[in-house]
Each structure stands twice: as C-alpha cells, then as structure tokens.
C-alpha cells in the first residue's frame, strides 16, 4: 500500500471542497482532495445562490431559522468568501456579476425568474422584470429546451431555430468554441433581423469561453445577449466546476480523481488517514485534518435506508427529521420536505457534534438544516462554510 503525507485531506470536489482546498493550498498547506467522481455542481445552473428569501441576501440570512448553518458563519467571512470567489473566477476567465446586498434574477427555461446572488456574466443581461421583449435562439433537435414554456410567461417573445448540425447541449457548446462555426452562426443571426430588445440562448455558448462568445455575439448584433440555464447536462455548472478545479490546482492542491474513500484509520480523537480505492492497489492518504464536503444525497455524502439516514465516510451521527413518513410531505411543491433538514450538525468551528473527532471539519450541502431549496442558499452556503471550515482547520493545525 502506498502512503502519502498531507496537511489536509479534503473529501469531495464540489464548490465547498474545492473552495476550502484552494483557501488552504493558497496559504501554503499541503492539500489533497479525493473524490469519487464529478460533483453535483456540474448539474447546477452555475449561479451562486446565497439566500433567495429576501431581495437582500443578508437580510434573508438573518430571517433563516436559528438552526440554519449560515448562522455559524460571521457576516465578514460570508463577504470575504464571495469577494474571493468573484476575484478567482475573473482570474479563471468566467467572471461573475452581482453583490451580496442585492439579489438578481435569472430567466429559467420555464420562463420563471430564479433568484440568485452572483451569476455568470453570460446571464447578466437577463431581464429583471417581464418588460423586456426577448428573442430566443433555439437549436434544432435540442431536446431539453422548449421556448414555448417561456412564451407562456413572456408573451411577446420571438423565436428562431438554428441547425447546428449536432443536437446535444455539450456538442453545440463545443461547436461554439470553433471560430468558423461562430462566424457562420453570427452571419445567420444577422440575417434574422431581430427586432426584440435582447437575445436569449439556452446555455450552450461554449465549453469555457462563454464570456467571450456572448460578448462577441452581442457586439456584432448590437443587442444584449444572455444565457438561460438548462437542465443537466448544464454548461454553466460545468464551467464553474472546471474553473474551481483549475484554480485549486493553480494554488498547488492535488486532486485524486475517481478515488472513492473505502476506509478510515483512526486513533484516539483524530482521524489519521483515509484509504482510497484506485487502480491496482489501495492508497492511504495521511493528513493532520480532514474537511468533509461530500454533499447531501445527490452528491453521495448521505444515504437513506428504509430505516435510517447515514453519513457514508465516517458514519458521523446524522440529524434526521423524524421517521420515514416525515421525510416527505404529500404536496410536491411544499418546499418544506423534512428530508431537507437531514445532515450533520456542527459546532461553531464546524466540527461534527456528538463525536470525539477533533480534526474533522464539515462544510457545504452535507450540513444539517440547510433546506437548500426553501432557503435558496446552494453554492453561496458552500462558499461561506468552506471558508469557515478552512479557517477552523488552519487554526487547529497551527
């Protein structure tokens, strides 16, 4: 078995794990990040929701139930984490727009408005009310995007359909990275003589150069251009993940990709190492501290059996809303399903409650009482708690 020594082992490659990792690696710690595979961030809209309950996310946070993990993070750290994120993403070529004092709206593929805080620059021009008249460009054969849903809300919307020769989200996006394709597309678009105020696209404008591509189209056509996030596979989610991953590596972090954790070595009050499966032989990664950022059910951090909910790596005690009958309401749209509160309860330094472990720090979607859909606090909570966990971890190691 191969053994490698690190300062910190991060488990999970989502927004929380990569952010905590970059924070620590950037401060000179030797950081390893292990992940079983792609995170759920790839499935997301790429938008950073901080708290959508109020027009001002900070006010919204104050109104969250007292058990909400946002209350464990001082406002100063929330602000730092967002500022740092914006700077990092600009550095990586996918700038984000927005500010902590004011939520923005993003037009969804159903024509509704999704509230978020920081949004990719390609969504900056999205209408902020129903007054803008938009023209949608759809693509032949793209099966997860139907402009008619948007027309049901925004009546005067125009539509044109372009045949890109390919029909999946990913393949259209990769076509846009080709200069020749982009050029012939723009010529076609000029020929459409669009009257409406703004031009909307499903989010397929490139794999990583979306910011530049959207700007190029807007400049040549002379109208604002914006992307509408689509259901997975979601390009803005994938761009976010790639940028965070590259940023983490740039700061000196190391990623063990496709290495699920299969065991743990412990001694007294500390976890000494995690064992991971890899091709050929098991590996032991030794660390002084662990950051657990494995996400909730979709991410694979938690799993439910018929009787209980378990944490998959360390078998940490899971806060469960009640017996199985209480996990879900009858009303699908209640936004209040008990399962949304399941997760790991932590103390003010983000250590799991009810265990002896002093070197585990927990952040992101695996935390208890997040109620992510109801609170509208997805990636924003991940950024804030990642910074808080990384700080606690740093203090602990020193």
């Amino acid at each position: 078995m191969s053994v490698t020594e690190y300062d910190v082992i991060i488990i999970g490659a989502g927004v929380a794990g990569l952010t905590a990792g970059a924070f620590l690696a950037g401060r000179g710690f030797k950081v390893a990040l292990v992940t079983a595979g792609e995170p759920t961030a790839c499935l997301s809209t790429g938008c950073i929701d901080v708290c959508s309950r109020d027009h001002n996310p900070l006010t919204g946070i104050k109104e969250l139930p007292s058990a909400h993990p946002f209350h464990l993070v001082p406002e100063k750290i929330i602000r730092e984490s967002l500022n740092h994120f914006q700077a990092a993403m600009t550095e990586m070529g996918i700038p984000y727009t927005g500010a902590l004092e004011e939520n923005r709206l993003v037009l969804s593929a159903l024509g509704t408005f999704k509230t978020s805080c920081l949004v990719p620059s390609t969504m900056q021009a999205a209408p902020q009310d129903a007054r803008d008249i938009i023209h949608i460009i759809s693509f032949a054969g793209l099966k997860d995007f139907y402009p008619s849903y948007i027309i049901s809300r925004l009546k005067n919307t125009g539509v044109s359909v372009y045949d890109a020769g390919v029909s999946s989200t990913m393949s259209i996006a990769s076509q846009f990275e080709e200069e020749e394709f982009l050029e012939s597309f723009i010529v076609w678009l000029q020929g459409q003589n669009i009257d409406e105020d703004k031009i909307a696209f499903p989010a397929v404008l490139g794999l990583e150069s979306a910011d530049k591509i959207a700007k190029a189209i807007a400049t040549r056509i002379g109208k604002p251009v914006f992307e509408i996030p689509t259901i997975p596979p979601s390009m803005p989610g994938r761009r976010l993940f790639n940028a965070l991953k590259d940023y983490f590596r740039k700061k000196g972090g190391e990623i063990y990709w496709g290495w699920p954790v299969i065991g743990v070595e412990k001694s007294g009050k500390v976890i000494e190492a995690v064992m991971t499966a890899s091709k050929g032989r098991p590996n032991s990664l030794n660390g002084k501290a662990i950051i657990l950022a494995t996400g909730s059910f979709v991410g694979g951090g938690l799993s439910a059996t018929r009787e209980a909910i378990v944490e998959n790596i360390f078998n940490l005690p899971v806060h469960v809303p009640g017996p199985r009958e209480t996990w879900f309401d009858n009303d699908y749209f209640s936004f209040n399903h008990g399962i949304g509160r399941a997760g790991i309860k932590v103390d003010s330094s983000l250590r799991p409650e009810g265990t002896q472990w002093e070197n585990i720090f927990v952040c992101g979607g695996i935390l208890a009482d997040t109620e992510i859909l109801k609170s509208g606090c997805g990636h924003g909570l991940a950024l804030a708690t990642a910074h808080a966990a990384a700080k606690s971890c740093m203090e602990y190691i020193r």
Partner: protein
Amino acid sequence: MIKTDVIVIGGGATGCGIARDLALRGIPHCLIEKGDFAAGATGACHGLLHSGGRYVVTDPIAAKECYDENLILRRIAEKCVEQTGGLFVRLPGDSKRFREMFLRGCEDISIPTEVISSTKALDLVPNLNPDIEEAIKVPDCSIDPFRLCMLNIRTSQLRGGMIFIRHKVTEIVRSHGRCVGIKATDQATGEVREIRGNVIVNATGAWADMIASLAGCEVPMTLDKGSLVITNHRLTNMVINRLRPPSDGDIVVPNEAVCLAGTTSMAVTDPDNIKIESTEVDTITSEVGRMIPHFNNTRIIRAFSGVRPLLKSKKMDSREISRGFQIIDHQNGMYSIVGGKLTTFRLMAEKMVDAIMASFNLKKACETAEIPLEGQGELSGYPLSKRLADMKDIVCECELVNRKEVERIIKQTGTHNVGDIQHRTRLGMGPCQGGFCTFRALGIMNDMSVISPEQSMDMLRGFLQRRFRGIRYALWGDQLREEQLVEYIYLGILAMEKPK
C-alpha cells in the same frame, strides 16, 4: 342525442373487451369512460397473464378459466403478451402439503407443470434465493394491459363503435322503470351528452355499485385494495410466485425494463380515495426479498394501488373470495358485470355479450377467441431490442420512446393529455417515472400547438403533483437520491413556483 343498441360504461379491460365482442357480432354500441382506458384496476395490476396456478388450490374454477384464457390470449394478443413462463418457488419452511395440493390441482385442470431443482431454477433466474427448496414451472406470462385495451377498442372503432373517453356518466335515463339511456359530462368542456340505447352494461369495476345506484339498483361487492411496487430494472425474466396459499408480496412480474411486485390485500370503501401506506411497501419489499434477495437493494421507483372489485362474500379474508365473475341482470335493461380478473376479461366479455344476444334474440356466436386482435402488425412487439433500431431523438431514455412516436400518438389521438401519451407509448414508465421526459413531451405538444403554452405549465405542475403521490412512499436509497435531483431540477434550476 346519440342512439345505439348497447351502451357500455367503463373502459377497463372488461368494457373494452365487450366493445370488441359487440363489434365482431355486428351490434351497434357506444362505450363511455370517465378517465382514460385502463385507468382503474386494469392498469393498476401486475400485468400478469395467469397460468391459473395461483388459484388451483383455492379456486379451481377460476384457475381453469385463467388457463384457458392464457392459451387464447397468447394466440390472439401476441404483441401484448411476453411468454416469460413462471416459477412457483418453495422456500424453506413453506408447506409441503400445499405443494402436493398445488401439483394435484394443476393436473386436474391440465395446467402443464415441471418440478425443477433449485440449481436448475437458479440457472433460469440467477437472482433467485439460492436457499429455495425447489421450483415448479408453469406457463405464466407478462401482459401489457394498456396495449390490450387499446387494441380491443380499435376493433370496435373500425366497425363503427362510438367511443367517448373522459366522459363521466351522471345520470341513467329511465322511462317506465326501464333504463333507456345515459347522460354523460365531457370532463374537459363540461358539455353534457345524452345517449339512448336498448341495453346498458355496467362494466365499471370498483365503481359498479355507484353506477348501479343511478338506476336504483345495487351491486353487492367487496372492494379490496391491492398495492404494488415497481423496481428500476428487470430482476427476473420469468414470473416468480411463492408456492404457498395466496398472501402478501408473493408475485413478481417482469414487464419490459422493470418488474412489478405485490400485492397486498385490504378492504376499502371508497375507490376514489385510496392511499398507500409505508408499511405496505415494507411488507412487499421484505416478502419479495425472500424470493429474490437482491430485491432488498433494488430501487423501488413507484408504489401504486388498485381496487379489486370482488363479489360480495361472507368470507372475512378477501383473499378467499372467489376471483370468478358474475353477470347481474337488473331486469330493467341494465346489466352489471363484476369480479373476474384481467386474465379472464375476454371470457367475461363473451358471456356478457351472449346474454345481450339472447335478450335480442340474435344468434351470431362469439369469435373473439379465434380472431387475432387487429392492428398488432404496426406494433413493435415486446422485445426492447426492436425499438433500439430507431434511436434518433429519444424523448424517454428509460423506455426508448422517440420523438416520432410521440408525435404520431399526438396526431392520431388529438390528445390534450400527457397521460394518454404515457399509456400508449410507455413514456415515463421507466426508472425516472417521467421526471425528465414529461417536460419534453409537454414541450412537443406545445410545439405541435395541440395545447397552449399556459396549459403546458399547468399540466407539468399537475403531473409532478400526481407523480409524487406514487413515489413518496418508496423513497429511500438511490431512488431518494434520484428524486432529490428531480426536485432540484424542477424547483431549483427551472424555478417552478408553488401553484396558487
């Protein structure tokens, strides 16, 4: 006002079978259904074409009827039936005496059986519990009840039968004490249609007593709720039964990409208000898990219930009530047909139409057992692989339904209802339970302008709400995980609002 000879109320297998039989005997008729075809017990069953084995010990007459019909349907409804074969497995501790009674019962009514060792059984179905004592092979099959109803109706339509779905019968028109017609309300427009006929057939299953009461009659029935669960893959290629007296969770039926397992049995009073209990799901899972251990780790994608319209009996346990059927002549121009099983629907229709022919003094004999169902030529047939031939523009990845097929159904039926597409193509019936493809199907309906953009939003909401009722009782493990993703997509990424 529409005039016809026979008015059939109910679009389950029995009603559709009666319409076909009437059509083949040249009797003008009209069928009224309050929802879609196969919406009641027909569509809420295992989809098991019984060999009869299940009833040989408790109800030999019903067993014999099942076996005869099994042979007939395999012949006339080839594209609805998958000839899987079935096994009755005996677990350690299961009665040997029952096994003897079972084999003797099968022999008495000539159901072919073959006793095979556990090794041989495992060879046939590798997922079986290796601890089984032995298995008995019988000619059970899997049958698609939706397709079966559609094809029966097709014969009726080809011969001038008038079909009204989504029409609810609100009144039985009477004159001098005789039933002379019905009034039905179009559920979409609210328009009331009056239809006059000489005979009314009440083939409404669990709703039979309610319809009979509109004519001042009674149909004594016991309503028995049975719940089932669907797994996300095909754990067995054969029907698996437990070799013991009928009980909870002792049948598993493969059906295309999934398996259906059940059932439970519980008396209920109102067929419009039935609920699944978590304990039922647990019972089915653990009982079936004894026959197929892997079942315990398999994703349950949905749980649902149907109501068996059983004949009224003094027996306390509804499992002991005969699965036979009965025709009640109310002596006022109305007949009710109750009881029976999906497997025996054709026989029930034959007997019903025989009675009607006798009352009309007509002689033409039943031909439904000889003539294959019309329109099967156009169907792909059961093997999934055949549908892989046209992989372009797949709308439903679980069941491999492509856009062309969805468009064809929309054109053919002019439907405004996404459920109609599901019942006719299997769209949304696989592991994701329509989580991804219904959004697409409604988008396509919209592209074709059969519904308005506003309707597509409302329908999507309604669909998600109904879908959730079926799945919320089976949410744990990977299915819970997938459901959280679907919720995140609709309520997060697509920002659907709470309906007002």
